[in-house]
Symmetry: C4
Subunit: 251 residues, 4 copies
């Protein structure tokens, strides 16, 4: 067992689009994939298992064991395949093997275009910029009216670590093309970045030409921003108190 | 050589149950497997070798070399297969390979149900709780009258590291079902936890419907608890002495 | 996918010479290979991909994704094959696999001689010495009139880490011979050493019997030496200031 | 390329004995193998290469490159095969693969008995004890008149790390038997232990029933012991000086 795909239902798509979400910066990939799955109600049709994941087994709330896996969903009306991965491969070599297996599998079922999504760590900015990088220069044309920055990705991002870069660049090896979307993310590591995910979902909705109800994630973004404001307020108050204490020592 | 199983005697079981014991928290798995082997006197029928173990060779008291291995025993009257492993695989990838080889092997000789046992690190509690997790929800029904907590395993344990989780969840891939039993363990790392092992043996005896004489492990539990009490007493006395010393400095 | 070579154009050379450049001490290998590619304008005819590279994808200034790769160029007039590698393999085992794949590939297209180039870390010296080591003793004869030190390589270098040593010593396994050139390099780690690269290019131009315009690298060497002098001057001035400060405290 | 054996000359032995020397505690294995090669002048007939060695290439004093390798020699009069290894495998998994390849190879050319030699780290003792461990209990009988301690190896040594343990215990898998000899070694890590090597050579000479001139190693043992005495004397004098200094401060 290296990488195995368990087929639950045979699926074919026409001129299909693939979108994946795996753990990463701001966890944007997983948030986006999970949101699409919740909103579009696609059908689970295959599961991926691999010895390149950690040797960890999950226990669900009902006491049922669940291996670490990747899940393939199909949304027939839009010929969309969504992959939700519990983990990235543990090693670079594992990432290459996982990526090649996924690309081989989706190309056979009719996918022609691979979209990967993730985040780029930055300081907090008022607006979230989304960088884009593509498998071939011609493809940029298709997305020119969208809010994607292709011109500064090379200089400001430079390189992409993990599966999302390999999936898009190696898509060509399997006769597909690819687009990698990277939202600026200012949350601390391990804290899910709802804002970045929303920015990407807005773009995806235009690319896929599907109406996606974004009200739920907009609510989460608001909640997260309110929480941050509260935390900042508490921090400032603490600083003031600290300062007063120090002054009282001196006084 | 990756994983090799040396067959000493061809064995078939009917509707067989598999129980394994490998090193882990409180070493509960190995204690339980070793106790069953000592009490039930099953027959050794196969040995497992793998390059995923450490490159270490044991020297027995009689000066004979012995490779790190896993040992398969059969207890014919109860269609029970017991596996005692010297080691876990050194890497996650090795664990996956080892687990798949074991599951493939036991499914071929007639095992239908896989039980793995281990520990969950907690603070010292007066009573030892045993958490359970299963390969399929229906299975819980079979064990509802036993002292196994399936309802809080998801929340309090969440995930299982190593072979015991993978063996039970991947049992389904080979047409079997599985149960993972995890006893709360409060001993320090590397110190065998007799109390946790006893709690699991009590449950196993009911599941297997075999009379297992627990008097030997009960004696060990008592000895271990007396030792802990002594150690705590010594610690407290030391604390008192320390305090008196400090006071005498000040006085 | 372990090591894959994508053929862009079928190529054969007669009594071909192979020169490679990969990252290493002073980055001399990559500088030399890139300089030859720029000056000789050879033709790209094959690309190498491997899961032994890091799981990293580059973004070009035009926003196009590019996998880490090795590039094979052919310079027909001189039967020269040049390999430019983005990376070394991440592990020793990967290096062995990469090296064997490269040697197998180039031996099949007619290469008879393998030249690898790199650096040896030393203190700054006025003149750069180039050490040489060969796959067979007889070969040294061919290079006796060149400024290569074969006599002290064993004692002063002793062993070579990474692909450049393996490529030359294992060249014999594929019916070729090899020469490894190592320039003394005094730049700090990660700082490209133009001086070392130039010393090697001078030797290569004689071995290959090709006129190579070295004026561009000579300019870079000068710039680098001027920069170093400036840095040293600044350092000295800082030292003097520091000393004066200390004296003023005492005074 | 994982493990490759290059045959220089086809060789068969009758009821052959295999002795190996690889790096390890006190470097006893390599010293013993090298001494046998120097004294018995056996013939080199095969070389082993493996990607489990480090990616390092040696430069010989004559400037010729040499890969890390293992060397097989045959001493026809005594049906002895000697293996001298530049390195151990870098990983446990590599050790298993290397060991199995060596055992498969030597069993095919007629070896029936495998002897491995190494050291056990101890404090300095006046006399060097040699521990022994065997693949099967019956074998001890053959060596009962020799100065080998089989009775305390289990308790005092317990386990053996690396190839020397695996080669002897896994010899049985290939229809051979094995003996592992471990000399007590008190030299600091990386310092070759001539005394331990001599103790093992004395035993080997009796087992092999070959006259081995030990005068050269006896000379080295003497030199090493004199060096240690000098170092100890210097150390003591330093201590005395230190003490006097401290006293003079107080005085």
């Amino acid at each position: 067992m290296v990488v195995e795909i368990e087929i639950l239902k045979k699926v074919k798509v026409k001129n299909g689009i693939f979108i994946e979400g795996m753990p990463g910066v701001g966890n944007i990939g997983q948030i986006v994939a999970a949101y699409l799955i919740e909103e579009l109600k696609p059908q689970l049709f295959a599961r991926l298992y691999t010895s390149h994941f950690d040797h960890v087994t999950l226990i669900r709330p009902d006491g049922v064991l669940q291996p670490l896996a990747g899940y393939f969903y199909v949304h027939k009306p839009s010929n969309l395949i969504i992959y939700y991965g519990d983990q990235q491969a543990l090693t670079p070599q594992g990432t290459y093997e996982l990526v090649n297996k996924i690309l081989e599998f989706i190309s056979k079922i009719g996918v022609k275009f691979v979209i990967t999504v993730g985040g780029v760590q930055t300081v907090y900015k008022k607006n979230v910029k989304v960088y884009g990088a593509v498998s071939s220069a011609e493809i940029k044309e298709r997305f020119k009216n969208l809010d994607i920055d292709f011109d500064n990705a090379g200089q400001n991002v430079g390189s992409i670590i993990g599966a999302i870069g390999l999936l898009t660049t190696y898509s060509k090896k399997y006769g597909m093309e690819g687009l990698c979307l990277l939202a600026e993310s200012s949350t601390l590591p391990y804290i899910p970045d709802q804002r970045g995910a929303k920015a990407i979902l807005e773009i995806l909705s235009k690319i896929l030409n599907i109406e996606i109800d974004l009200s739920k994630i907009e609510k989460k973004v608001k909640e997260q921003e309110e929480l941050f404001k509260k935390l900042q307020k508490v921090e400032k108050e603490e600083e003031v108190k600290e300062k007063e204490k120090r002054l009282s020592y001196l006084g």
